[in-house]
Amino acid sequence: MAVRTLVLLAEALFCLGVYGLLTRRHAVGLLLSIELILNAAALNFVLFSRVFDQVAAQAFTLFIIALAACEAVVGLAIIIRLTRTAQTIYADEATVLKG
């Protein structure tokens, strides 16, 4: 019972993240949506590691948390670069490249 609820929670988080990534305009909002997707996967790993009694999957979760931080750092660096060169933080106004 609890497993099913938690799987549904993880799936809801994943869908929220994808929805956010497709609809948000603000670059920081987009980064937050990415975090949601990663957290959904992390939640799955923790949950299933309890189910299968596999500690390795919990280590996987720790790696996901660390990598999410790295991705946020790289993302913020790129966003700062964009705001400096393009004077905008909205992803849909980044339209120099087209074709």
């Binding site: 596999q54 966003i79 992803a91």
Partner: protein
């Protein structure tokens, strides 16, 4: 435990050298001029190549508790990855558009990404595959944003958003697959999936599809290719060159290993992958016909080439695997060589439209000649190396009774000849723009020279390479049974 780690490290010198070298290079780049960083990078690459040379005949072994596997396939892909990094390093050093103050950092990041490529080609565990993929991705996002112009920052943001979505979806697929099987390492996953029953089978299929999205993004397979032209246009030329070869090499390695894991589900996946292969080459070639920016054109050409490469994967035979590796080698040399020529042109003119090729024959006859060679090899004309790879790929398709696949690929190749030859026409027949002589810097001349030698040499005398690939990778029975042992 100490014993396992010691044994593992002994088999892992190439990665250790490159990893330490990349850390040192990034650290040093904050304090010393780019020249010193360059020396460190070459030393690390040379040490890594030497170590790889010494591990030359691997009996398949699991190291680091089965997280990494050293086998013949991994060895081939590791050589390809190292070759890519070395050639791109020459181009990064010779790129005038990258500011001198940041060149050291770019070199360090390039080595990091190279380290990721090595890991990706020998990953044998979901965690390792994910970590290596992210290492490659994060470094590439930063490298794309290295130019001071707005388009570079936009390209980096686009790459980051698409890439993070793809790797997030892949990660979610991995977590579902783990939830269905309770296993993380590839051999255990494969044997667990082999016995999976009906309701679970469909769920596993969904998880497999989600995982394949991440790889398809990396190798810019249709319909996950949309980022390719924009990112290639915004990035520095040297980085574009890297993106068009490096991630494709490692992504195909991961695809081969994943496919072995997902073998029980392959019958359901095969028709879709087959259709996407044909779509990839067709869409790439059609879009390339109308491009006016040379980097965009090469982006679509890359997509088309990935389509050809995927033939070697979808036929699922040892001959297909050998053809894939041979064509990947050819693709590495001809594409990086072509990008080295483009880099020389961009250094000189500061422009990227196709008009920079006009009258190149007068300004730099050797540069024009080598550009023409690379273009003809990409188009697949004999006696160049590209022809041999393509011939093997199409032959592999025909051998498995999929003649229509070979016919589709041949029609596509014919279409591609148009835009490749168009550049040659511009170089030799169009009226000249500028008339001053163009002399590329030493690094670019070395890069182009090595690639010309490989494209011509291996095109005329392919038998040593083919014999080597055949001896290492031919296995009886199942397609890739050398890759993973239960």
């Amino acid at each position: 435990m100490g014993l396992v780690l010691g044994e593992s490290l002994r088999a892992w010198w190439p990665e250790a050298c490159l990893g330490l070298g990349s850390l040192l290079a990034v650290l040093l780049s904050a304090f010393v001029p780019a020249k010193t960083v360059r020396a460190v990078a070459w030393a690390a690459l040379a040490a890594s190549a030497l170590a790889l040379w010494r591990t030359t005949a691997p009996t398949p072994t699991d190291i680091f508790y089965g997280v990494i596997v050293c086998d013949a396939l991994g060895l081939a892909f590791r050589w390809l990855a190292l070759g890519t990094v070395a050639l791109v390093l020459l181009m990064v050093v010779g790129a005038r558009e990258i500011e001198e103050a940041y060149r050291g950092e770019a070199i360090g990041l390039l080595l990091f990404v190279g380290f990721g490529l090595l890991l990706l080609s020998e990953a044998n565990h979901l965690l390792m595959a994910y970590l290596a993929l992210e290492l490659v991705s994060l470094g590439s996002y930063l490298l794309v944003g290295f130019l001071p112009q707005r388009r570079s920052a936009e390209a980096a943001l686009k790459y980051l958003l698409f890439g993070a979505l793809a790797s997030g979806v892949m990660l979610f697929g991995m977590s579902l697959l783990f939830g269905l099987t309770g296993e993380l390492s590839f051999p255990a996953l494969a044997s667990s999936l082999a016995g999976i029953g009906s309701p679970m089978r469909e769920a596993a299929l969904l998880a497999a599809l989600l995982m394949l999205v991440g790889v398809a993004f990396k190798i810019s397979m249709v319909p996950f290719h949309l980022w390719t032209p924009d990112v290639y246009e915004g990035a520095p030329v040297a980085v574009t060159a890297f993106l068009s070869v490096g991630p494709k090499v490692a992504g195909l390695a991961l695809l081969l290993r994943l496919c072995e894991v997902l073998q029980p589900l392959w019958p359901a996946l095969a028709p879709m992958v087959l259709g996407l292969t044909v779509l990839t080459m067709t869409l790439g070639n059609l879009a390339a016909l109308t491009q006016t920016n040379v980097k965009r054109l090469l982006a679509y050409s890359t997509i088309a080439q990935v389509g050809y490469l995927l033939i070697g994967f979808v036929v699922q035979t040892p001959a297909g695997l050998q053809a894939l590796i041979v064509y990947l080698t050819a693709y590495l040399f001809m594409n990086l060589g072509l990008f080295a020529c483009v880099q020389a042109l961009v250094n000189d003119t500061g422009q990227e439209s196709l008009t920079v090729f006009q009258g190149l024959y007068r300004r730099a006859p050797w540069l024009a000649l080598s550009t023409a060679l690379f273009l003809l090899s990409l188009a697949g004309l004999p006696p160049l190396f590209g022809f041999i790879g393509k011939f093997m790929l199409f032959d592999a398709a025909i051998q498995t009774g999929q003649g229509w696949l070979a016919i589709a690929a041949i029609l596509n190749s014919a279409m591609a000849v148009y835009y490749y030859v168009n550049i040659i026409r511009l170089m030799y027949a169009a009226p000249t723009g500028a008339t001053t002589a163009l002399r590329p810097c030493l690094g670019l001349r070395v890069a182009a020279g090595v690639c010309v030698a490989a494209v011509l040499g291996l095109g005329l005398w392919p038998s040593p390479l083919l014999a080597r690939v055949q001896a290492r990778l031919s296995v009886e029975g199942r397609a890739y049974s050398a890759i993973i042992r239960p």
